[in-house]
């Protein structure tokens, strides 16, 4: 009997009738699949490089008033959103009197982060990630990057935020 499998079109081999043939993956097929994955990863890297080079993210423009000093007690926080943007930020009044503003999205999986009063740390409760409230650096857990921050300026009784200066 001639080997029908040789004559069958590819789609019949890809969707066989017998269940036992469904799970059969040859090492050749697996090697080709790995090449496909490799192509996908190279494409992903190309996308990241193109995005970084040609479409950089928008920077915060100008000064934005958040609240007055009286509205934010020591150890307190205030969530805010800048005009024309949906990115959530949090303003923190640290115990040493300083004000800090960070993006309220964990750099791991974008969960909301919270300041833990008295500890000097910002917590991401989703996967137990911790950030330094003074610098935004990662202290512990899965987050791969520091929290993006905004510079805070206190003018009179009002608190303003502006884009953070790039560190050289």
């Amino acid at each position: 009997m001639p080997n029908n499998k040789e004559k069958d079109p590819d789609w019949k081999n890809d969707f066989p009738i017998n269940q036992s043939e469904v799970t059969e993956v040859t090492r050749r097929q697996f090697a080709k699949f790995l090449c496909l994955v490799s192509g996908g990863l190279a494409t992903g890297s190309a996308f990241v490089a193109a995005k970084a080079a040609f479409f950089p993210g928008k920077k915060v423009q100008g000064l934005h008033r958040v609240c007055s000093i009286n509205e934010l007690p020591v150890g307190g926080t205030r969530a805010f959103v800048l005009e024309g943007s949906s990115t959530p930020y949090v303003l923190i009044h640290l115990e040493n009197g300083e004000f800090k503003a960070y993006e309220q999205k964990c750099t791991h999986l974008s969960c909301a982060v919270f300041y833990k009063p008295g500890s000097g740390k910002i917590e991401c409760p989703c996967h137990n990630g911790w950030f330094d409230a003074m610098t935004g650096e990662v202290l512990q857990g899965p987050p791969p990057r520091p929290l993006p921050r905004l510079d805070v300026q206190v003018t009179g009784n009002d608190i303003f935020v502006t884009a953070a200066k790039e560190e050289a």
Binding site: R27, R28, F30, A31, K32, L34, C35, V37, S38, G39, L41, A42, G44, S45, A46, V48, A49, K51, A52, A53, P56, T107, P144, R145, P146, E166
Partner: protein, 79 residues
């Protein structure tokens, strides 16, 4: 004229099996390096270190070429 392909087809199945396994292991290793390159490039780009993304892409693309080249050395199917 004898080619590597002819010699490969005449080789003992144990040899071609070992070769197949070696190629698959190399491919897995290369894909792992590509995952690392993508992860590093992405994280640095998001952290405003844009200088990393392009070399990471060049590395990843080179590995893709190597992977495609490795497919050429896959032993032929037995008849």
């Amino acid at each position: 004229m004898s080619t590597f392909r002819r010699a490969q087809s005449q080789a003992h199945p144990n040899k071609t099996s070992t070769l197949m396994l070696a190629i698959v292991v190399l491919l897995i290793l290369n894909v792992t390096i590509q995952i690392w390159l993508l992860y590093t490039g992405l994280n640095n780009a998001l952290e405003h270190n844009k200088g990393i993304a392009f070399p990471a892409f060049i590395g990843s693309f080179t590995i893709l070429i190597i992977n495609c080249g490795l497919l050429y050395y896959l032993p032929r199917r037995r008849r």
